[in-house]
Structure formats: structure tokens, C-alpha cells
Amino acid sequence: MVIDISQFNETYLEEATEHLGALETGLLELEKTGEGDLNAIFRAAHSIKGGAGTFGFMKIANFTHNLEGVLDKAREGELPITPPLSAILLQAVDVLREMIDAARSGEEVDDDCGVEVSKELNSYLVGEASDNGKQEVSTADSSDGIRCVNISFKPSPHLLQTGSDPLNIFRELSSLGNINVTIDKSGLPSLKEFNPESLYYSWQIALETEVGLDDIKDVFLFVEDDADIEYQEVNSGERKQVEEILELTPLANRRDDEDRRQGDRRQASTQKETAPKETAFIRVETGKVDQLINLVGELVTTGAMVSQHSQELEKDGNDSLHKVVAEMSHHTRNMQEAIMAIRMMPVSFVFNRFPRMVRDTATKLGKNVELITEGENTELDKTVIERIVDPLTHLVRNSVDHGIEMPDEREESGKPAIATVALSASYQGGNVIIKITDDGKGLNRETILAKAIDKGMANADDNYSDEDVWQFIFEPGFSTAVEVTDVSGRGVGMDVVRRNIQSLGGTIRIESIAGEGSTFTISLPLTLAILDGMAIDLSGVTYIIPILNIIESTRPTKDTVRTMRNNLEVMDFRGEYLPFVRLKDIFLLPSETPIEQGIAIIVEAENQQFALFIDDLLGERQVVIKSIEQNYKMVEGISGATILGDGSVSLILDLAAIMRKATREGLLNKGVSPDKIQGINQKEKVNHVQQ
């Protein structure tokens, strides 16, 4: 795992600017009044330096080193801040400001920047070693083969009370080679004098290792002041003895030696298999993997082109070329899957954080909740995993906070006192389904509807299905919690949850039964690089619609599509009126396909259904997504592009954006659909009956 900390550079530079301000103010104050908080001034410089080194701004770190030294002396009272020194310190502030500004804009400062000031500061430090290069040089003996060391380790009785644990030391030593630990219990006092918090043991450790003595001593770094430690290196003449102690043959021959399993091993002998295990994992920069995914995507696309051409070439019944090409495509697909798998991570990465969270939240609320997780090994793309953490956290917390009742309430309604929240993941086609189920009180239809009406999101006269009502909780600014608890937020959550999931190409659905509990079902694509799409034709151009958005397609007739009074069209789809949007109007394309010769695709975006009218369906395609934004610029209504089998480029439609664009341009009236239309529909039905 590569941990990239450059994302914190900006925070550091902001913070450094703040510290710099404090430093400057402090110095000015000191100059003006002769008094000031030298500790605070020192701390500001110290913080700038500490962060600079960590985040890789070496010039800032080096420069601040002397500044910090001078200020340290000043606060210890060893160096009075005279007017000339004060002037230099303020110059140093200016130099630092220049360096920080340069770092922010990604520029390099001149090498001689601050050199003069630094020299002057240094002159106040003379006598003190300006010890930038104090790091110990590792001794040359670190790579001269196998060494045997006897270590005598006698910790002081209070060692445990500094948080140290000898077991950790033995564990780390055993990672360096073969060790044999012999315990000496002779220091154990009589029961009367025995203090259970003290350590009375000492140890003899025989270590056979390839690392240098310095590395061995390093293991004891934290305890060397709290223990007597002696190291005795055994030369090759004495090696035999150590081998006897270890009851091992030298590392080099170990694997051939079958007898080593025989003979009595002493207690606590930790034998670490030193055969190279590092090959189990390789660290690879994610950029390299992404490049590979991209390239194999191209290969798949080119493969599809070859396949199409070979079919055309061999129309006369000879299909040998086509067979080979099909075989090749098969391999390419397998390769693509294998490469995609590199980016896959098990959802346990996310799930693992929940047991603790559920426990803490439940305890805080005085509830008793058991968390059950299932399907932790289900794998998802790394990016999807990372971006699903927040929405899932929110949903699980909501379940515990709002879904689960208090224990006495549960008992009254005859439920087990311990509530259950279940988190499961599973594959379903090209998607991963994550479910959060609780056995709490379920969503309250009346409260939600009342709130929605109150907020002007719903109409009191309309009939809403449960499904429709649940959708309101995803609206921005909606919160049903009567009191805002410090566990669940302030109604800023569910709309963000839905938006985050949608930005991953996923959907979220709610099922809830009053008194029995709720289930939130999230469907996510396995990866963000490949999309299952439906190729459609409009004015001779091929577009791709994500399958995830499509509910079904149908051929409209003149009878099913009607124009309403406001000139908007609606389509009667199984007795329900849906907004009818012509894609050609959105993209301003000249298509004259009559209603009965085109296709209406019933799509859903942002939980809104509508019929999208196009010329023709061309069939399902699995496409590799290419970013338009990165190569051109953002285009409204288009989420990306792909290359089709014949080499032509096809645009992938972003239906949520298309819906927004249509609403804005007056081609789709979001406010009166589909529920309002449903209302019209019912009135019409009434009329029909009356007639």
C-alpha cells in the first residue's frame, strides 16, 4: 500500500502561513513592548519546521532549522533579543513567506534564497554544533553474511509501566532471523514482596541473523535506558555453540536439512521461516495499473474491430479467420478481467469499521444492537470502495439512531431486546449489491409525508405510494428527526448519500415495513472503467445509454403519446403517464422519425422516470469509458465516450444531466410528473367512467 501524503500539502502550507503570521506578530510585539510570549514564537517556528520536513519541503525545513535554534536559545534566556537580532528574525519571516508562496504555486525558490539570513542566524548559534547531518551512518558490517549474537536483556522492574512489552521486542527480533529465548526467573521475589505490575524476569537471547549489530540494537532503542542490555557477537569459531543453542543448521543449508525437525527444541524458540516471502505482494503505483487498464481497454476495442472485419471478409462460409479472432477476443477479455482484478478490494475494508461504530453509537444512545456482516469477501473497485465509505457510514448510523427502538419500546412490541443491523454484500450480474437491514420500527409514512408537504416537496391532495414517500428523505434539506441528535446529523445527509452513490453509477432503494424494519439496497457497478450500455441510434449517430438507467423500451403509438396543455408531451405507459422527452430536442438534432416508427426507452435517473424518444435500438454493448472532460471539456448530458467495434466514437449519455437540462429548457416538467400526471390520469379515468 502506497500512502500518498501530498494531498495534505495544501493544509500544511495554509497552516505554515498561519504560524508565520503568529511568528511575525509575536516578534513585532516583542520589539515594540519588550515583552512577548517567546514560547509561542518558538512553537510557531517549530511547527513550520516539523511539517516542512514531513511534507517534503526541504528548503523550508532547512531554513527554519537555524531560526528555530535561535528562538530556542532566546526562550531559554540564553540569548537576548536585541534590535539587530529582531531585524534578522523579521527578515527570516520574509524569506519563509517567499518560500511558502513558492511552494504553494509549485515553483522552486532560488538556491541562494535566504542564504544570507541563514548565515546571520547561524552566527548567533556558534558554539553549538549546527548539526544538520547528525544522522548516524550505518556501519559497514551490515551485509557481511550471517552473524550470531548473544543478547542479555535485563529490564528494570518498571519497564511495563512505560508501555513497553518485552514480547514486542522478541517478536521484532524474530523477524530478523532465528531466535532462541531463554527466560531467567531467578529475580522473582517471594509472594509477599511480589508486585504484579513489576517485571522480575530477564532473558538470554541467541539470535542468528543477516542484519548488522546496529539494526539489532535498534530493536532495543526504546528500552535501552530501562534495561541492562549486553550484546556479544559470536565469531565463526564459536558459531557451532550458537547453532547448538539454536538447534538449527545455518540458514543457507536449512531447507535441505530434514533432520532439523528432530531433537528437542527449547522453550520459547521462535523459528522464523526465512525463505523469501516478499514475493507474495508487489507494491505498484495505482497510476501504472490504471494505464494497464486503459491499454487493455484499447486492446478489447481493437479486438472488436478485427472481429467485425473478419466477419465481413469471410462471408462465403470460410470462417477459419473468424474462429481465431474469436479465440483471441476471448483471451483479451480474460486478460481484461485479470487486470481489472488488480484494482479490486474486498468490501471487508469498509465493513470492518462498522462493528466498533455500531457498538459506540448504540452505547451512546442506550440501545442494544448486534451487527451482522455477510459477504465481506465480495470485491469492488478500489475507487468505489473508497467512495462508498461515507454513504455507508451514514446509512448504518441512521439505522442505529433512527431505525432501532429503545430496548423498553422493543419489549413492549414483543421484539427481542437485542436489535439487529445486518450489512451484506453480494454479486448480482455486473453489479455489487450492498444491503443495510435493520429490525427497527421502519420508516414512518405519515411523518415523512407531513414533513414533505410542510416543506413544499409533496402535494397534500395527491396519492403517493410508499416507494414515492420514501424518496422524499433523499431530498436536500429533509430531516425527520424531531430533535437533532449528535449521532445523526442535521438533515444534510440522505441527499448527499444518494448523490454520492449516483456519482458512482449506482442506485439506492428503500423497502420499509412499519414495525418490522427497513432495508436500504445499494447497487454499485463492479468498476468505473467499464460500462454495460445500450447502443441507440438518433439521426444516424450512435449513443450509449447505461443499462443501469434503463427500465424497458417500447414502441409508442400516436394514441399513447399525448400533448398536454403546456405543450409538454406525456406517454401512457401501462396506465401511468410519464414525461415524454425527445432526445433530438435536447441535442438539437434533425430527426423526423414519426412516433410510431421510433422507440421510447423508459429510463430512470435521480429516482425520476421518463420516456426518452429515439430513432432505434442497436443492442447491448460493454464499453470502455473514456473521459471527455480530460481530453476536451465537460459537455452537459454526456458522461464520457467510448470507441465502438467499427472504430467510431460514441458518446455515453448522462441521463441525470439530460433530465436536468430538459427540465431547465422546459422540455420536461419535473414538478408535475409523474405524480401530478397520475392525478390527471385518474381524473380522466373518472371522466371515462362517467361517459
Binding site: M1, I3, I5, Q7, F8, T11, Y12, E15, A40, F42, R43, H46, S47, K49, G50, G51, A52, G53, T54, F55, A61, D131, K134, Q135, L160, Q161, T162, G163, S164, D165, L167, N168, R171, E172, E197, V219, L221, F222, D225, D226, N352, R353, P355, R356, D360
Partner: protein, 122 residues
Amino acid sequence: MSKTILTVDDSASIRQMVGFTLKQSGFTVVEAEDGAKGLVAAQKQPVDLVITDLNMPNMNGLELISKLRELPAFKFTPILMLTTESDDSKKMAGKEAGATGWIVKPFNPEQLLKVISRVLPS
């Protein structure tokens, strides 16, 4: 269950970087921005390891370490302090206050995790 680490540092960037590194490595992280807040945060949930800066306003790191060591729950808990290379005297003062070990600034995520693995068995 993942182990909980309390990080105390007045520098947001260091806190974020340490927090990010630890979370990436599967730890649960509790953050506090100075010693006084650290002492309060330490008692809100079980903590498996404390990492604290030394130079902080409102109770410095040394004071925090000795106050923590007085609490029964922190008698044997490993406590690491963040210190700079030149601060040898600080290391000694820290050990006296009850620190288990130190992490030398500047440090990178790998160095941080290495020192943690030394005092906190996985």
C-alpha cells in the same frame, strides 16, 4: 476489531497526515488538537496507543503523558511522542514522563507505521 489510536497534535496537517496513514492501515483514529483535549478524548473510549506531539498550547505533550500514566487505564498503554532529531533531551524527559518511545520528525508514513508496529503488536 480494529485498534484505536489517539493522536494529539496542534498542527492540523500533521494530524491529518497521521490520521490518514493510520486509517489506511486499518486503525480507528481519535484526534485531539492539544494536550488538554487529548486528556479528555483519551477517556471517552478504550485507546490502544497514544501518539502525541510535545510542543502544544494548553498542556504540552510531556504533561499529557504524565497525566495519562496516572490513569489506571493508561498504566501500560504504549505512548509515543513526536520529537525532532535534535531533541535528545526531550527524549529523556519524555521517557521520564512515561513515554514508551518516540517518532523522529520529519517522518514519512512508512516510518510512522514501523514505529507503531514496534510497540503495538498486530
